[in-house]
Amino acid sequence: MSRKKLQKLTDTLTKNCKNFNKFEVKCLIDLFYNLVGEVTERQGTTIGLDRNAFRNILHMTFGMTDDMIMDRVFRGFDEDNDGYVNVSEWIYGLSVFLRGTLEEKMKYCFGVFDLNGDGFISKEEMFHMLKNSLLKQPSEEDPDEGIKDLVEITLKKMDHDHDGKLSFTDYEQAVREETLLLEAFGPCLPDPKSQMEFEAQVFKDPNEFNDI
């Protein structure tokens, strides 16, 4: 890609993204193209990270392990739903992922947890997401009993309108009361440690930024 084009891309993306400054956007764009590899740009094809490549990044860089959650994170990033995370989706996604305000993060997380995208987190979805969260005890008759109970506990805590499922309003209210519930059904944001490592690695030279 030409230098001029890159410059222009950086400028537009910086304008649209308030959580990163110009230098950081540039770094992230560089990283993106590094990850995608040198693919010649042709008309009609999208350049982007496909599901596997993206999941790989989530796993390697941000230490995520849950397949389902990673899938959902990919969907969260891939706004136009074309199976690829392109450069602007990448920047926008990361801005929430790394620097998002609580509101942005709530929206993003809710999107991740709302598996079928119907605007509610249902009991079934919860069960699905929590099913691996307890150590199975061989002694228990029903191994799922604990999970079911956990779902009930969660509902009791978060379902304020008592309709048996979580709307965004329910979720928002619960998170505002207790921020720990932001990632109530599984880690879908980077943990602070890997976030710090990532940022330190990508935004390496702050002096350069000062020069611009």
Binding site: G146, L150, L181, P187, D191
Partner: protein, 877 residues
């Protein structure tokens, strides 16, 4: 496999314990060494019964830290050197150091230098050392040990009362006094120990059973290894006892390392755990379930369980104890040790709440929660730091916890938290960070406040540079911040070097400023801090210069909040030690208000109010004011109290009032003198002394004082007998009272009959200038009766009196010269004086600007001279 693991854990556990135990034992400090030596000294001497012939320090000079070793040796941890002469061995020169006790190279005869080199093994304390070195010592000690135990069983109730004839027995008793305390504590603890046993029944059961299985298994295979295992795995069979031992070891260390005297909360409260069969509330089962998820869940499940647990009413004791009883505390503390920030936050949020419960605090400490929380203070997450500091603030409410915080470097870290707000004061930082940094600093201050109740922690805070940081935080205007900051300062201001630092850091100014705050708690702590600091004159002046007296005076008008009132009156008391301040208080009408506070107030307020009035009444205007406001009646009424501090202050105030003849009339009418007189029987020497001082102006100013004094049946005998006291202040005050009593001839005759002359003469050999002065005055008064002059000579009071003339105190000179003048009326006394070189000293005093002194000295010389002339005349005629 599992069995092996369990046994290994057990081994580690045991090793750790024994290591702890050992490391505790070999750590001496100056106080313990000193106590040991004092005790041994007390019970050594000639004869078969004593344990040693003699024991003495090599140096008389004691440094302020309690050591006697020269500073360059103190660096090596050496505390002092002792010369011990046991019955059966040569004199031993012993070094007592922080590591233990050992024989050194001895003291060289000619130069008196000590050869510091170590010549023996290190023993854990002096007694062990001596037992090793001297068979006789060890024999006598052990004999008495047995006797003592029997003795002790009998008079369990009053271990302090040691009859003289059982002195030998008393030695081990005194030694074991501390262990007795431990035993007592253990009895209290015993319930708890049993509980702890029940807390982990499965483990113990498993350990025991597994161990048996293991034993039989091993017997077949590895006979050798089996032996080692058996030995080490033995103790847990009786876990209760093992714990008892550990507990006492901890207690010993507590006694050794923490000199700070606070009793609140330091008693372990009896631990009542719910009976298993008792009806358990539904919360119990719900919490048990949540704890199960905490144990068996991944991060997500854990966070959900934590959040749900937080929804229980954690302020309620049922829930707090339920969490503990189902083993939740262990899990919560374990979570703190993980990398999961969210779990740590959730866990701390719960611990913070439940640690309001004193039992839970102890459990957290027992489970080793404090070191982990102290480590979290280093975390980059501000909210995590805050929560950890807040939890520490709750937990560190008792001594052992405070010590644990210090030992794990917590104080330094907490002090570092205070720094956050300072760095963020730079303009570059955003306000969001500001708020969070302030919060961190606030939590840090909160934790320091709790910690600052131990003396060693106060030192640690100072050493970590906490004072300037606290001073800086005091400049902020956040009330939430100011309360813990001022609270910490107030705690610490009990130490001299803090008060100096508080002065230097210009903290007083801000304390005064915050007196004007709206927050009652803040006002209270500020007043309390001023109370502590105003012992110092400069500070008292600072309070005035910064305009602190007016708010103090106006806070007197609000009497609903008793704690605050106590703090405010305390500050006023201390401030009114300076005359300028008293003038100000009069201006602000504080004295009238104080008089109004003499009734219907709790004791802690009364002590301060009366103390303040006592100071104020040193001035004429205020005495009049107090009388006019009707303050004398309530003051006299307070003379019947039992609180010692209060009595000391009341007697002082009444004494101050009695200087005014008009007030004296009221006191007399209210029978105040009789009340004062009966306080001479108070067991507390301070009260006795203060009462005797107060009697002086009463006798001076009462109408027909002689008759009044005679009216008290047995009163004169009582006061004369107080001359047998061994408290210097009591003696001085009684001498002063006797001086006044003796002004009445008839009374003088009575006290002479009660043997005042020999008693006064016996006191003559003193170095205390205050006592010297009043004693000399009393002697000079008592000379006025019968053949008392001669009697003083016979009881050898004259020669020591002559020596008083060498004192540096002009008051002593005057009183002594007057006494000598009176005594010199007797020829034999003149000879004694002359022999002791009184003439030369008196000649110098004739030139004194003090007229009374001049006159008395001249009179005395002339008496001596006249005698000399008379003898010469007699010789030649």
């Amino acid at each position: 496999m599992k069995v092996g693991m369990l046994l290994k854990q057990l081994d580690l556990h045991l090793l750790n314990h024994s290591l702890k135990h050992i490391s505790l034992q070999i750590c001496l400090n100056p106080t313990t060494v000193k106590n040991d030596i004092e005790l041994l000294k007390h019970f050594s001497g000639k004869g078969e019964q004593t344990v040693l012939e003699s024991i003495d320090y090599t140096s008389d000079y004691e440094f302020s830290n309690g050591c006697r070793a020269p500073p360059w040796r103190q660096i090596h941890g050496e505390i002092c050197y002792v010369l011990v002469k046991p019955h059966d061995v040569e004199t031993l020169c012993v070094t007592c150091s922080a590591e233990g006790v050992f024989l050194n190279g001895g003291k060289t005869e000619d130069e008196g230098e000590i050869n510091y080199e170590r010549k023996s093994e290190i023993y854990k304390d002096l007694v062990t050392f001596l037992k090793e070195k001297s068979a006789k010592f060890s024999e006598n000690m052990s004999k008495q040990d047995i006797r003592f135990t029997e003795e002790w069983k009998k008079e369990n109730e009053e271990p302090k009362e040691i009859p003289k004839k059982e002195e030998a027995d008393a030695l081990p008793k005194a030694f074991l006094a501390s262990s007795k305390n431990i035993l007592e504590k253990n009895q209290i603890n015993f319930g708890k120990t049993q509980m702890t046993k029940r807390l982990e029944p499965s483990l113990n059961w498993k350990a025991t059973v597994d161990f048996k299985e293991h034993k039989s298994l091993l017997r077949d295979t590895q006979e050798e290894k089996h032996g080692g295992r058996l030995e080490r795995a033995g103790p847990p069979v009786s876990p209760g006892r093992a714990q008892l031992v550990r507990k006492s070891a901890e207690k010993i260390e507590e006694i050794l390392s923490d000199s700070s005297s606070e009793n609140e909360e330091d008693e372990e409260p009896p631990d009542h755990r719910q009976e298993a069969n008792a009806d358990l509330p539904s919360e119990y089962w719900q919490i048990q379930k949540l704890v199960k998820y905490l144990k068996g869940g991944n991060q997500t499940a854990t966070v959900i369980a934590l959040c749900s647990m937080k929804d229980f009413n954690l302020a309620q004791e049922t829930c707090q104890l339920a969490i503990r009883d189902v083993g939740g505390l262990e899990v919560l503390i374990n979570l703190l040790d993980t990398d999961e920030v969210k779990c740590k936050i959730g866990s701390l949020k719960i611990l913070k709440e439940i640690s309001h419960n004193p039992q839970i605090r102890r459990n957290i400490v027992d489970l080793g929660g404090l070191p982990i929380m102290v480590n979290i203070l280093d975390s980059p997450h501000k909210s995590l730091k805050c929560l950890a500091a807040e939890t520490i603030a709750n937990v560190a409410k008792f001594r052992r916890a405070r010590r644990a915080v210090r030992h794990h470097g917590g104080i330094t870290k907490l002090v570092a938290l205070l720094d956050c707000a300072q760095s963020s004061a730079e303009p570059a930082q955003s306000s969001l960070y500001d708020a969070r940094d302030v919060e961190v600093a606030r939590c840090g201050a909160l934790a320091l406040w709790s910690c600052s109740k131990s003396y060693a922690n106060k030192e640690a805070i100072r050493k970590a540079g906490g004072i300037p940081l606290l001073a800086h935080l005091l400049k902020t205007s956040h009330e939430n911040m100011l309360i813990p900051v001022v609270g910490t300062l107030q705690e610490c201001a009990s130490e001299e070097n803090y008060r100096a630092a508080i002065k230097a850091e210009r903290i007083i100014e801000n304390l005064v400023k915050n007196l004007n705050s709206e927050n009652e708690q803040l006002q209270e702590h500020c007043a309390m801090a001023i109370y502590q600091c105003a012992e110092d004159k400069e500070t008292r002046d600072l309070v005035r210069l910064h305009g602190g007296l007016k708010p103090l005076a106006s806070l007197l008008n609000n009497t609903d909040n008793k704690e605050r009132l106590a703090a405010v009156t305390g500050a006023i008391w201390k401030c009114s030690i300076s005359k300028e301040n008293v003038t100000k208080f009069r201006e602000y009408k504080a004295i009238e208000t104080l008089v109004g506070l003499l009734t219907d107030q709790p004791e802690e307020v009364l002590v301060n109010v009366v103390g303040a009035l006592g100071e104020c009444c040193q001035e004429y205007e205020n005495r009049v004011l107090v009388r006019k406001c009707g303050g004398i009646q309530p003051l006299v009424n307070l003379l019947v109290g039992i609180n010692q501090t209060l009595l000391v202050n009341v007697t002082k105030a009444v004494g101050a009032c009695a200087v005014e003849p008009e007030s004296m009339m009221i006191i007399d009418r209210l029978d105040g003198v009789r009340l004062l007189w009966s306080l001479l029987k108070n067991p507390h020497p301070d009260v006795k002394a203060s009462a005797a001082w107060a009697l002086c102006p009463c006798i001076q100013n009462a109408k027909d004082a002689g008759e009044m004094v005679r009216c008290f049946v047995g009163g004169l005998e009582l006061i004369v007998n107080l001359l047998k006291s061994d408290n210097k202040e009591v003696l001085a005050s009684v001498c002063a009272a006797i001086t006044n009593i003796a002004k009445d001839q008839e009374n003088l005759a009575v006290i002479t009959d009660h043997g005042v002359v020999p008693l006064l003469s016996k006191l003559a050999n003193t170095n205390n200038d205050k006592l010297r002065r009043h004693l000399a005055e009393a002697i000079s008064r008592c000379c006025m009766w019968g053949r008392n002059r001669v009697a003083f000579g016979e009881y050898k009071a004259v020669a020591p009196l002559v020596r008083y003339l060498k004192s540096n105190d002009a008051n002593v000179h005057r009183a002594t010269a007057q006494a000598l003048y009176q005594l010199s009326e007797d020829a034999d006394n003149c000879i004694t004086m002359h022999e002791n070189g009184a003439v030369k000293l008196l000649l110098g005093m004739v030139g004194s600007p003090d007229q009374d002194l001049q006159e008395a000295a001249a009179g005395c010389i002339s008496n001596i001279r006249r005698l000399a002339l008379a003898t010469e005349k007699a010789r030649y005629t």
